[in-house]
């Protein structure tokens, strides 16, 4: 479960990115996080993966309280969250398969686990036959699917995606969203940041809208009911 309570985030240069934001996401939910540029969406993501600390308020992620988390616990918190970015973040000189191995190795997985889990996840995103190719030999949509497969490797309870379709054409974007929807159906909580209104409207999901660092709407559909 994810819970932000009255969170204020002030960056060192004085920018107030979040101004008393509260948000709760239950296990198994699928949530779109939308809002204009600069409204604080990426800041929410950074808070949830422990990249920045809240100035005020409380942040809970899968049982970890990020305000008083010990530094050594942060990696273990991150293993419960799979992260996907707009720019894929794959290692260019490693094949798809080796990219996956690299990510599992990094959390201390053994060869037997790796042999089982990597094909399973590649299969889930439909790329089992591209495992020997380099990222540069794949389309943008395929690269993002690799990133999704990688995010799933350590069996996280939550997937967080910051504009995962920002670099893709509408057809590829729809494919990626459908994939995330399917992963959600398998039991993983999914939080997707996007500003593609049309795309959001094709799904009947909860939409949380931010503006100036606060939740201004929360409900089904893009123009969902106003938050109190």
């Amino acid at each position: 479960m994810i819970r932000l309570t009255d969170v204020v985030k002030e960056y060192p240069n004085g920018t107030h990115a979040l101004n008393g934001l509260s948000l709760e996401i239950q296990d198994g939910e699928f949530v779109f996080l939308v809002g204009p540029s600069g409204s604080g969406k990426s800041t929410v993501i950074k808070l949830l993966i422990g990249e920045v600390e809240p100035t005020e308020g409380r942040v809970m992620v899968n049982g970890f309280s990020l305000r008083n988390i010990q530094e050594w616990q942060i990696p273990y918190m991150r293993r419960t969250v799979g992260v996907i970015f707009q720019d894929f973040r794959l290692i260019e000189h490693k094949t798809v398969y080796d990219n996956m191995v690299f990510a599992m190795r990094a959390v201390g997985a053994g060869p037997r686990e790796i042999k089982k889990r990597v094909p399973y996840c590649l299969n889930l995103v439909g790329l089992e036959d591209k495992s020997r190719q380099l990222p540069s030999e794949l389309s943008g949509g395929e690269q993002q699917r690799v990133a999704i497969a990688r995010a799933l490797l350590n069996n996280p309870s939550t997937i967080i995606a910051d504009e995962p379709t920002g670099n893709l054409d509408p057809a590829r974007s729809l494919e990626i969203m459908r994939l995330l929807e399917r992963i959600n159906a398998l039991g993983t909580t999914v939080l997707v940041v996007t500003h593609e209104k049309d795309l959001v409207n094709r799904f009947d999901k909860r939409v949380v809208k931010l503006n100036q660092g606060k939740v201004v709407a929360d409900g089904k559909g893009y123009s969902g009911r106003k938050a109190q």
Partner: protein, 295 residues
């Protein structure tokens, strides 16, 4: 640390090292130079110490017994002399022996050879444990009743002690400076690697790798650089030492110096180089990765 991780870290470390061929080469070069200077100074110090020891073994003071004391009385002083601190041994020399020696030395000079035995005093040759304490030992010997006069080569001994102390200080200072320089160079080499691999580091953090896991390959890289330097440095030091020893032995003015053979020193050199290489390598990598691993 699990075995497969150890292997993984070592392989990644080696890969890092070779991926920066030139920088690694430079780092190893500087470290080897530091080790060589360090090693050479240490070996010079070892040789000076060996020479000092020789000198100490040879170094005798002469304690003269009062004129007119009988040989028996004079021999009776031996136990008292041995009780003086810093005295390692005494040898009695009767006036007859001393006269004989003197006459042998100045065989052709009438003036000396004509002196009768009774004009010589009985004496003791005194061996010291530490020639650094020559003055205080002399005073203690002087204070024994029956001992009239103590002669020692104070000035000569003082000279050697000064050389040893200066060499020691120079050695320590130089080694400290070179250590810091080597660590700095290795740190910069590894910083380059971390910069090269910043994307991979970011991904590792993203998927939840611990800082320890991210650090190890860089520690291994430093360790390998240090050990490589130690091995190369060892063989160069060996060659250098043999060359110097040979030129000392064949030089007419300094061949009185007996150089300690390398065979008796190689395990010290190997040990010191390996330890210094590891400290420099690991120290360098830790100082390189300390800051960038926050968060």
């Amino acid at each position: 640390m699990r075995g497969r991780n150890l292997f993984y870290f070592a392989r990644e470390g080696a890969y890092n090292m070779f991926s920066h061929g030139f920088m690694s080469f430079a780092a190893v070069g500087i470290t080897v130079a530091c080790l060589l200077i360090m090693g050479t100074f240490t070996m010079v110090a070892i040789n000076i110490n060996a020479m000092m020891e020789d000198l100490e073994n040879q170094n005798q003071m002469l304690a003269f017994v009062e004129m007119g004391m009988s040989e028996e009385e004079a021999r009776g002083l031996e136990s008292q002399l041995l009780q003086v601190p810093n005295v390692s041994g005494v040898t009695f020399i009767s006036n007859a022996q001393a006269a004989e020696e003197f006459r042998d030395r100045y065989e052709n000079e009438e003036l000396y050879t004509g002196i009768p035995d009774s004009n010589y005093r009985h004496r003791y040759a005194i061996n010291l444990k530490d020639i650094g304490r020559i003055a205080e030992t002399k005073a203690a010997l002087d204070a024994i009743p029956g001992i009239e006069d103590v002669r020692a080569a104070e000035a000569e001994a003082q000279g050697f002690i000064t050389i040893r102390n200066v060499a020691g200080v120079v050695c320590v200072v130089l080694i400290a400076v070179l250590f810091v320089v080597s660590i700095f160079i290795i740190a910069n080499t590894i910083k380059l690697t971390t910069f090269d691999r910043r994307d991979e580091i970011a991904i590792m953090k993203m998927v939840g790798a611990t800082n320890g896991f991210i650090r190890w390959p860089f520690v291994f890289e430093g360790l390998l650089l240090g050990l490589f330097s130690a091995v190369i440095g060892f063989f160069l030091q060996w060659g250098l030492y043999e060359a110097i020893a040979r030129s000392v032995a064949t030089n007419d003015t300094i061949n009185f110096i007996s150089v300690v053979p390398f065979a008796g020193l190689w395990h010290y050199v190997a040990g010191i180089f390996a330890a210094a290489g590891m400290v420099i390598g690991v120290g360098g990598s830790l100082s390189a990765i300390r800051r960038f691993l926050q968060v």
